[in-house]
Symmetry: D3
Subunit: 323 residues, 6 copies
């Protein structure tokens, strides 16, 4: 069994006593204090020095946890209580200060450790930049080498830049996985593309490898939820498990300034929240990550971090509604 590099999460809350918890920070448990098999394991991958542009996404796991106390454990839209769903926090993968390859290796091994030890648990990785997705998927593949993995990507970018040129940077994870025979191009669906943010050679690569590109415009025309459903159904007919990766830069710049390369013309938060509810409902989705959220770019009201927590809770709500 794989070694892991998970460190205790950077929080420790006063327990609310005998009453059931009503806020997120009292509801999530530390993994080491959890007796039963959790329904979901959270773990942080706080690295962003692998980002092409300057990024503080390494700060996100801590800020993500810090805002939990602003969120109640009840989804009023769906009239659903989150308390029965067990979420355990495994803490952050310990990163090396400068050795990017070593840090990436640790994310991969920690992921293998978690998916081997908790085979029936949904994993949720909190990045970090998008390079971490390649590590996590490789880690899953190592645990389940016989299974095929499909990827549903919500992203403004294809992330198929050439690792031979850039190394394992945040612009390359999908190409790393395709060129490394971990995932097939035809098992990757990207929803959220738009505008002028992918150079032609990348689009050529995507077409050549049959990555399914769905622009926001196309998704809106068909209905975003239907598009998500169709994507998940397509994937689940072809693969054994689905990994969902949410690059927060899929959101419009006015809603999510806290990403390294924010753009106009992106997805709305409502669309993201609805998508994640739907994704959470799907039984073949086993793994999810949220990446490229740079809290240092937020304004004082922390809009992107709040959106990140909300998005994650929508996925949790979907998990609960799934049953």
């Amino acid at each position: 069994m794989k070694k892991h590099y998970l460190q205790e999460p950077e929080w420790s809350w006063n327990l609310p006593g005998e009453q059931p918890p009503t806020y997120v920070h009292h509801w999530v448990q530390q993994l080491r204090n959890t007796n039963n098999t959790p329904d979901m394991i959270l773990y942080g991958a706080p690295i962003s020095r692998s980002s092409i542009s300057v990024s503080g996404a390494s700060l996100y796991p801590t800020e993500f946890r810090r805002l939990w106390k602003n969120f109640a454990t009840y989804n009023l839209d769906e009239d659903v209580d989150l308390i029965p769903y067990n979420v355990a926090d495994a803490g952050d993968v310990s990163m090396h200060t400068t050795d990017i390859l070593l840090s990436h290796q640790r994310i991969q091994e920690s992921t293998t450790y978690l998916v081997e030890n908790y085979p029936n648990t949904t994993t949720c990785m909190i990045g970090g930049d998008h390079s971490t997705t390649a590590c996590a998927v490789r880690g899953i593949k190592e645990a389940y080498p016989e299974e095929t993995i499909g990827i549903l990507q919500l992203d403004t970018h294809l992330d198929v830049r050439d690792p031979k040129e850039l190394g394992p940077a945040n612009g390359t994870p999908i190409r790393q996985l395709i060129d490394g025979d971990i995932v097939k191009g035809e098992h990757v669906i990207n929803i959220g593309l738009h505008g002028y943010f992918n150079a032609k050679p990348l689009i050529d690569y995507a077409k050549e490898h049959k990555i399914q590109m769905v622009t926001i415009k196309q998704a809106r025309k068909k209905g975003l939820i239907k598009t998500i459903q169709k994507a998940l159904n397509d994937l689940s007919s072809k693969v054994d498990r689905i990994y969902v990766t949410v690059d927060m830069d899929v959101l419009d710049i006015s809603l999510a300034p806290g990403v390294p390369a924010s753009t106009p013309g992106g997805m709305t938060t409502i669309e993201l929240f609805d998508s994640l509810l739907e994704i959470g409902r799907h039984p073949v989705v086993n793994h999810i990550d949220f990446v490229c959220l740079d809290p240092s770019k937020d304004s004082a009201v922390a809009e992107t971090v709040k959106t990140g927590v909300y998005a994650w809770l929508q996925f949790v709500t979907g998990r609960i509604l799934q049953d």
Copy 2:
């Protein structure tokens, strides 16, 4: 007749001379200079030390008036001139520096004074935090003890936290009124709820007291304007007068950062503006307030304060179209 604590408003504009005014700061008159009965009386309730979290909502009445000069007295969407509608500014209720109960009492008494002396005039209170709503409604009840009052609340929160625990804080006004037998729970309709911002015990209280909870999601499905119309019709069939309270935190964080607890997933400004136009049209709406707008949280372009003025003008337009 009740004493009042209203002070002159903090503005004094050069009169535009013989030509009719074309901007809001020349159109609104000071109450003490008004000869005829005004159609609407504005008054400020500049208190926010009763807010659970840190709030500068006490600064709003002054900032609200300061931005009037950026707004023309003509609604181009409806092709309607506002000039014929008389708005008088009664100034702000004088607040004690630290005695919250005394300040609240003064808001209540000043409201009683206004509604007794101007029985046919629409009142519009500019908060302050949401605790002021309980004061205003009690003040109206004191003037008209035989009448039943209904509340239409646009809010992300239920505001039914327990005043026994928190005192008369901004999280408690609806519960103060229900527990105090001023308003019945079934006469309260909240539109704008969403997400994870109300803990389960509050939802339990709301259900127990039959508060009608309408999430934004539900309202959008049915049509927000239809939902507003239905709410006002329902209320007007049961109560004698309707008090509308607009907690500006009902708006999405990207549109209204200037509130103490801004959240993603909220109402859009367009939706709020359309709602207020509709609300203004309804004859049984006699009272309105706008609360929890903290100008100090705005960015340099004052987006939330501008939205607050615009929202109020939409209500005024509705009043005019009503006839």
Copy 3:
């Protein structure tokens, strides 16, 4: 032939070598280095001291060019490569430090110079404040005095304040052109009006001169694209060439804080992008400008400048799809 005052643009990029360019800064050429007749000529009019309120719109041409490197030359929504379309940058019109009339004259003469010398080329002026539009249209009229010019204006404001009172300020260009017999009021269509941002005398002027006023609300009801199409078709049936002027303050304050007088209730970026795609497609549109974008009011993520570049690229895409 007219003199011109165009200075080299403030950029000089390393050429990408033998491979075709993949980003905008490698694709746009300097006009003086262009051998063939370009499809579009860009030129800057960096003046904003003619703005009624304080404005840094004079900074926009430089910031516009500086962000080119963040945009790829491929439109993923339309699956269209921009490379075959030739865009040449003529640089900025040289402005006098304090002599506004002289600066305006130079914009006019430089425009005449360009449209006379490149009669089949689309011109795109990057403002500067909205006063520059009057100069550009006069410049075109000087080159083609026999032709009638129609204006499609996307704007929150009518811009028909009285130049007799204000001089050639940014609130007056449309009135300058009507009163100066350059353009007829009935050949001006403004789409994007809303709210309380035009005083009654201006609306009276617009009605008197038969300016077609279309509020965003009306446009949304009919369909914005249909409204644009109808406007362009109406105009093209009456005029010889269409000048499109995009005042960036047509956008909502939450999406475009970087304008001197941002307002709530405005157009969305998606709506603007769709409109410009449609406008670009229309063959009778020969000239366009983008004005009143003040980069100094943007937050650190440069949302309005990015939106400005995106909007321009949408127009370019439309040009390409037109054929």
Copy 4:
């Protein structure tokens, strides 16, 4: 013995293991985990709704602790290791949401509890607004009614506004104590006054009650350190114990924007740091507080909070050098 209302501090750090701690967050211990009598007890008084102007000083105790990890436990200027000095954190006094008098009472009682139980320990209260100083001093007086207390105040303001008018607001603590016969006016020395920030009636009160007013200008002329020494020597010759209160608004606005009423012309951080080193050295100083630091007014680099932590460590260094 008095009841107390102290809650666990909002932090829980991973212990550094067997090696000695090298950063502040590993060095400070929770009071309940401390076996020996600590040299200093920290406690928070997170209230600022008693502030005349809007204040987020209630947020300071949490932010103060959160920045500890940026500070090493070694003072390089003095070549002194802080580790041997035992600092225990008693957590925050539990505040009522709206009942200011009750909250103040709890600060007073908790202070009495601490000074009675730890008679030889230096106490350090982290505010909160300046109203908390009156509570703390009354708490000490209650524990040691026979002793006279002197106050050394570093402040831009006299804080002798009339509690009869304002209640126990942050502008009144010194007057509360003088009018309440807890402290004599002649036992109060204020260093740091300057400019135009105290109205004449307050200066008259101060003169009448023989408060010693030392402007920064005077202190600089004589030498700030000599002025501090003289003040402490004067006080210690007259009183039994000295309470030092540091209102962070004593600092210049360019150095400490994070206070509710920042002013130009204030003390420099170097002057404050030198002063606190000197104050820490003085054996008759038993109690200190740091108040009116509003972290929400800081820019993104948290300059005032960092200055607050640094200032406190200077006092600690002084304590160590004292022996």
Copy 5:
């Protein structure tokens, strides 16, 4: 006698009743309400479209007055009450929207009007950009053509750029006056120069015209106050009246970000305050202005505007101490 273009100031305060005023906004009177000859007349010159770079200095007169309520009418450093000194506010000179020459002419004529009608009153002009200084000095010269005027300038820049090239821009006022034979170069002393902010041709011009250039470094070496005294004594031995112009960009960027061209290495606020106290004391100083303060560049705490008000009050204190 000259026409004037002074408009009522944009404020109107509630009178404090029978008690003497304790804050600045109650102390300053409107000129038209003043019975006796005032000791000082304030007037605003709200123009900044004559600024070379983008400037919001036109906003300063209003912001200057708006902050008065934060300043008491007592100088604690000097133990001096300001109340006996009569300050009257003449309001702002009415500016044309785009006609810079006309606006400049009005400043000049309004200054002539004031100095002719109030020959024994100190005038204090609140800019606006530095171009206004040339207008004011010309206005004084027009009233007293036989008198020689000397200028003491506190500035980072020489402001001797060529008006033939730039027109009457904010970089040219001193050269306008010298080339126009209003003031002799040898009667101009600039204190506050430093660094790399004056191009060589400007320094050559200054040397040629015998402008006395004193760098901050030189002033600090000699003693800034001594330098100021010597400058005033030198000037007063040669000229009939002294005009002092304070370009707020003389201050260091860390203390005064709110100027169009802030620089490191500038004067400190303490130095400026001390200088103005000294300048105020000098009997031959009859006129002063404060220019180039752009409130829109300040951070949320309004540091530069507060510094501007403080600086002005220091000059007032000097006037009082003079007698």
Copy 6:
């Protein structure tokens, strides 16, 4: 002879024609266009992914050059024209996206290339984070293996964290050089240390290796310039060449927010400017760098970047005065 990885600088200015340049951007030449041996060569090392905390110091070389146009080529304090001194810009070392070791190697080789080819030219490296200093010094050592190198470091930190633990991070350069036998500890002098920003084990290392630690407090006591002189004289008596490294975090947080770990209690800009003038004067100083300036942390007025350009020009002035 070594390979180099220098790319053209990201600027290209219009030449000012026949007149001598008066601003920095016209004075500095591109190295490839320089005929004579330049007096100084600038080169950028735009890497900050080797920084321990999140850093945008990689953005500095571009921002440094972009602000040149705000600086004149004349030092008014010293009355010195910079034009005769030849500065050539070699551009930036080309960085790999993720391979830190490779990027470091390129900085080293490019430095070797420059110092071998231009043996009599002063080199000035613009970082990047502080890890680049180790590369540059190793590059010099490679070119001149027989020479001993001394280091004068202006820094808040010792930068002797253990590369065995952190890799070649920005906290380790001095230790890399000492442990790697490139530089002896006794040949390192650090001026600017203060406060609580170096953990005890680092101080122990520094003492053990005889690094000379001079706190700001000590330097101010002795006189900072004397301290600098003494340091340079001491070093020049022991070593063959002196490398000066300026970590911009030596400055106080209020003056230089644009560094990754800004602290209160640091050096003032005036002190830094005076120091660099003195350092520039010293003939044995052959190499300098400016590191750890993160432009993305600056406020809108770019205070730290402006300070960085000013500091570099002070060093240039010193070079000129040296002769």
